[in-house]
């Protein structure tokens, strides 16, 4: 649970005759994390693909291009197919259906291109309407040069200067002057130079006939008919997508699987007659792997376990042991949080279980409201049905477990949609003399704490919820937050020490990781001593803090280690966010309730002081206000209690043990999880 699954290094060697059944079996078992052969041994070559690898990959390329035309993306399967079904449909799907789809798609592309050209032509033609020339007058000359375009100023005089023989037409449209200049071809260079002085910019004239207006009308007509042709083609593609989507994804899966199998030998080492596969397998699955492979290859294969010492040598030389994280199903969603940070190395700890313990408590402590907790549970139950991918399901499970904790803390804090609101109505108010009695019993949390709050009783014991907004409750929560921080960080430090010992780095363990823990624990004890007035605790705490700093200086970083000391304190102060973010959300909820129950409702019912006298419209407006503010608060109240504990884990806790040696390689056994294919 806390450690990745124990792995063993295995070598599978066999005769080339049985390579196909061995690969088939490995693929089916999904146990062996193959270590790619890097070609370093002179007596072994890299393996070559077996069977019809080339055909499968060609088919796959064909299929993928068709699926791209149909815009098919991976999705949750609605239908599953047997492999025989895929095989019988394969040829038809790739050749007939595929060709049809390709042709349709290409026709649509061609139509789009043609429409674009015609629209561009029509756009180029529009300004020419100001010139009194038919379109065929613009082209087809052997001895004339033609310049058509816009000019900033009148060009007649200057053109006439360099080319006495000329024909110039001009007209203005919108805010540009349009000119068409015809000159003998030998003057073209001079005229072009002159025109550029007038800010001339040339327009290309489409080679069409007739006058401009009718040409534009013809173009627009053909654009319309092309669009008309395109619509049914698009519908055809949409229909085909609906019909073939699952089949195509299943075929894609089948072909990918076949390619994976046929190309697997590329990762093996080979001689003329034999093959060798290196890999890692979970230790307790080794015997299964061995017996299954041997029966599949009818004894012509040798599966050997490499002993730990030799495996360590391989690791020393740079081979990564794959990390297989394994947790009970309740903890599994929290692997998402671990993964988001990094996959732990094989020798490191898998912190998912710790996240499972701490994260929901922190979330609950921040949100701490029965109303919001129940709301988020309901919303998440709905989302759980809607978002079915693994990632979403994990995320939803994380927040659901956290919501339960928020309900529990809601009972401690006496909040149902904030203080002041429903708690008092449901649980009743405390009377004056009961408050006095509570004070006498030592349950005094500051003035106003019990005022609006009720109580819940179990078996004759009354639990008084505390009001998070009251002064003493804030002070209590400051202390609680920091002590949660001390526990959280210490667990991280203990993991850090154990990780360093796993790697055999005693100096790092005892002089880099341990002082952090000592410092933080005794810093908290010193604080507690100060608050309680126990000077003995303060002295002891202070001494240990000094010792821990000295240890740090003696550690691997030397005097530079002192630079980290302020961060030990700031790590702990960082846990104040558990209180602070909660207060912000309580504050908003409190404001909403105050506004609705004590401002809007009484004012709109003409200054009524008793809730029974509130008028109906006043209650409606009040409820609308309540709804709006609580909705905003609810959205914020899910987001920040999620992000901040996450940060506390990533920054304050994981750094104590995690990042010491960098990310690991995730165990990904050779094989395939079937989605669209029946097993």
């Amino acid at each position: 649970m806390l450690r990745p699954v124990k792995m063993s290094r295995v070598v599978v060697a066999g005769s080339k005759n049985v390579i196909a059944p061995v690969v088939e079996k490995l693929h089916e078992l999904r146990l062996l994390h193959i270590v790619n052969y890097n070609g370093s041994q002179p007596s072994f070559e890299m393996g070559k693909p077996i069977g019809k690898a080339k055909e499968y990959s060609e088919d796959l390329i064909k299929l993928r291009s068709v699926t791209r035309y149909l815009d098919i993306k991976n999705k949750a399967p609605e239908k599953t197919y047997a492999e025989s079904q895929i095989l019988s449909e394969l040829d038809n799907l790739l050749n007939n259906v595929g060709a049809d789809i390709t042709a349709t798609f290409e026709r649509i592309t061609a139509i789009d291109a043609e429409v674009k050209t015609k629209q561009d032509q029509a756009k180029a033609l529009t300004p020419l309407a100001v010139l009194p020339l038919p379109l065929d007058a613009y082209y087809g000359y052997d001895s004339l040069a033609t310049f058509v375009g816009t000019a900033a100023s009148a060009v007649d005089a200057d053109v006439a200067r360099v080319s006495p023989v000329n024909e110039i037409y001009s007209g203005s449209a919108k805010n540009a002057t349009f000119v068409a200049v015809f000159v003998p071809i030998e003057k073209a260079g001079d005229v072009s130079a002159v025109l550029s002085e007038h800010g001339f910019s040339e327009t290309s004239v489409p080679k069409l006939e007739g006058n401009v207006d009718s040409a534009i009308a013809t173009l627009e007509g053909s654009v319309k008919s092309l669009e008309g042709e395109k619509a049914p083609l698009q519908k055809k593609l949409a229909d085909m997508k609906k019909q073939y989507e699952d089949l195509m994804l299943a075929t894609d899966e089948y072909l990918s699987m076949q390619t994976q199998k046929t190309e697997a030998p590329l990762r093996f080492a080979e001689t003329a007659n034999a093959f060798v596969i290196d890999g890692w397998v979970p230790t307790d699955e080794f015997s299964r792997l061995k017996s299954e492979l041997e029966s599949a290859a009818s004894g012509k294969v040798d599966v050997q376990l490499i002993d730990d010492k030799e495996a360590d040598d391989l690791v020393e030389k740079g081979e990564d042991v794959p990390t297989k994280i394994d947790n009970p199903s309740l903890v599994k969603p929290y692997e998402l949080v671990t993964r988001l940070f990094a996959i732990p190395e094989y020798k490191e700890f898998d912190p998912s279980l710790l996240i499972f313990v701490f994260f929901p408590i922190m979330f609950g402590m921040i949100l701490g409201d029965i109303g919001y907790g129940v709301m988020s549970l309901l919303v998440l139950l709905m989302l759980k049905k809607k978002f079915r991918t693994d990632g979403w399901q994990q995320l939803i499970n994380i927040v659901m477990i956290a919501s339960v904790w928020s309900i529990i803390f809601g009972i401690f804090f006496g909040e149902i949609f904030g203080p002041l609101g429903l708690w008092g109505r449901i649980m009743g108010q405390l009377s004056e003399h009961e408050i006095e009695a509570a004070k006498h019993a030592g349950l005094y949390f500051g003035e106003g704490v019990f005022g609006s709050l009720g109580r819940i009783g179990f078996w004759g014991i009354d639990i008084f919820p505390m009001d998070r907004l009251a002064t003493n409750a804030v002070l209590l929560l400051i202390g609680t937050s920091i002590f949660i921080g001390v526990i959280h960080c210490s667990v991280g430090s203990i993991f850090g020490i154990m990780t360093e010992l796993n790697y055999g780095e005693k100096k790092h363990a005892y002089f880099e990781r341990l002082p952090v823990m000592l410092f933080q624990v005794f810093f908290a004890i010193t604080l507690l001593g100060l608050v309680m007035g126990q000077m003995m605790m303060v002295y002891i705490g202070a001494i240990v803090i000094v010792v821990s700093i000295v240890m740090n200086v003696m550690g691997p970083e030397g005097a530079m280690g002192l630079a980290h000391v302020p961060s030990y304190v700031s790590n702990l102060i960082s846990y104040l966010r558990l209180l602070a973010i909660g207060l912000a959300s309580v504050g908003l909820a409190y404001a909403a309730n105050q506004l609705a129950f004590y401002v809007i409702m009484p004012m709109l019912s003409g200054g009524a002081t008793n809730s029974a006298e509130f008028s109906i419209p006043a209650i409606i407006v009040g409820i609308l206000v309540l709804f709006a503010v609580h909705f905003i608060n609810f959205l914020l109240g899910i987001l920040s209690p999620f992000m901040h504990p996450l940060r506390l884990h990533y920054v304050e806790m994981f750094t104590k043990f995690y990042s010491a040696h960098g990310g690991g390689v995730e165990y990904s056994p050779f094989g395939h999880v079937r989605k669209f294919l029946k097993a």
């Binding site: 940070f341 990094a342 002064t471 700031s570 102060i573 602070a580 920054v651």
Partner: protein, 88 residues
């Protein structure tokens, strides 16, 4: 000791100080996060696997505002420096 101010004024000044502590710390944290956030979004667009580390980096300056908040909490709730100099 001479009376220099009444309790209300001093309490008001304390509240202003507390507000400034949280507010200015918030601005500082925001300025810090601005650059990191932009960079992280850029990196994540290129390589989604960086999200976790990016989030981690982005949340580092958040601690600043918590310091500000700690100071305000102390000012508002735990510190009574004027008990000797205010009018009863």
């Amino acid at each position: 000791m001479a009376v220099v101010a009444d309790a209300g004024t001093l309490y008001g000044l304390l509240a202003v100080g507390a507000g400034l502590a949280t507010g200015l710390a918030g601005i500082g944290a925001g300025v810090g996060e601005q650059g990191i956030g932009a960079a992280v979004v850029g990196v994540v667009a290129e390589e989604p696997g960086f999200l976790g580390k990016g989030l981690f980096l982005m949340l580092l300056p958040e601690t600043l505002i918590i310091f500000g908040l700690a100071v305000s909490l102390i000012l508002m709730f735990a510190w009574t420096p004027f008990s000797g100099i205010v009018t009863p």
